[in-house]
């Protein structure tokens, strides 16, 4: 598909993906252990997730939100075991 510009807005967004609370998180578990060994004795839990910073061009904040949700559903998050959140970081007009 071609990048036909509808608007001249550039939108920066972040999609954050974490394992569902009830799902085992081996990474978080291992990291918590390492932090404890390093003497960070106040740490009671760590969950490890992923972040994706996405730049969209020629779109609007509303359209972007919808698009980002779809991206998470179809590719970035595995909704069987993960939850995701979408956050618009900034909008710039060029």
């Amino acid at each position: 598909m071609s990048k036909k510009k509808e608007t001249d807005q550039t939108i920066r967004a972040r999609i954050t993906v974490f394992p569902r609370p009830e799902i085992l998180d081996p990474q978080g578990k291992a990291i918590a252990g390492a932090l404890e060994r390093l003497g960070f004795d106040r740490v009671s839990e760590v969950r490890a997730g992923k972040s994706f910073d996405v730049v969209l061009e020629g779109t609007t904040a509303e359209e972007a939100e919808a698009q980002l949700g779809k991206m998470a559903e179809t590719l970035l998050a595995n909704t069987v075991v993960e939850d995701y959140a979408v956050e618009i970081l900034g909008t710039a007009t060029t």
Partner: protein, 237 residues
Amino acid sequence: MRCGVVTFPGSNCDHDVYHVLKHVLGQEVFFLWHGEENLKSCDLVVLPGGFSYGDYLRAGAMASLSPIMASVRRHADAGGLVLGICNGFQMLLESQLLPGAMRRNRTLRFECRDLHLRVERADLPFTRGYEAGQVLRMPVAHAEGNYVDSEANLDALEAAGRVVFRYSDPEGELRDEHNVNGSARAIAGITNEGGNVLGMMPHPERCAEEVLGNSDGLPLFATAVAGARAALETQAS
């Protein structure tokens, strides 16, 4: 001579290296434990391949903070031989005994196959058994072997002649498709200023016996062993 192979939780090539040093080269070999600082006065210390702590954060990151790494650093600073293979190389980077860092392979997949290496430095304790420009065939098996650093640092590394191995084609030409993991400047192995610390992604211990059809990795251990003995003697005198 005394060789030490460090076992971290999740190391899985420790026994392979042990086998080569002990049974193929007949050396005195000890397993060293990540949780201790004792190097059992070994002359050669090997950080083996594997998935220390599952490589759940960054490959080698958690292991590089183990108690034994402080001793490994002292050993290296004193000119002692340190060999980091695969996960061991990643630990050397994470503990900044060697410069740069590893990213995921550009294929974003684990790559297990034989690759060709061009020897860039044949004058190091680990590489005297090779000729400069010689092409070796060695197995790789990793998901994070994509070496990166800033252009400036890479230039400095090259200028100091600290690139030891590069991925090449069978004739020794640097061709992109042979740089499977996408390493900057096809780097497969590097050394420190002193030349006594070597980090490499390919597995010389997996090609150190003819019975497995390839012994290109054996000279690396053989000369390291000899080199360590030499270092020991100079220290004594």
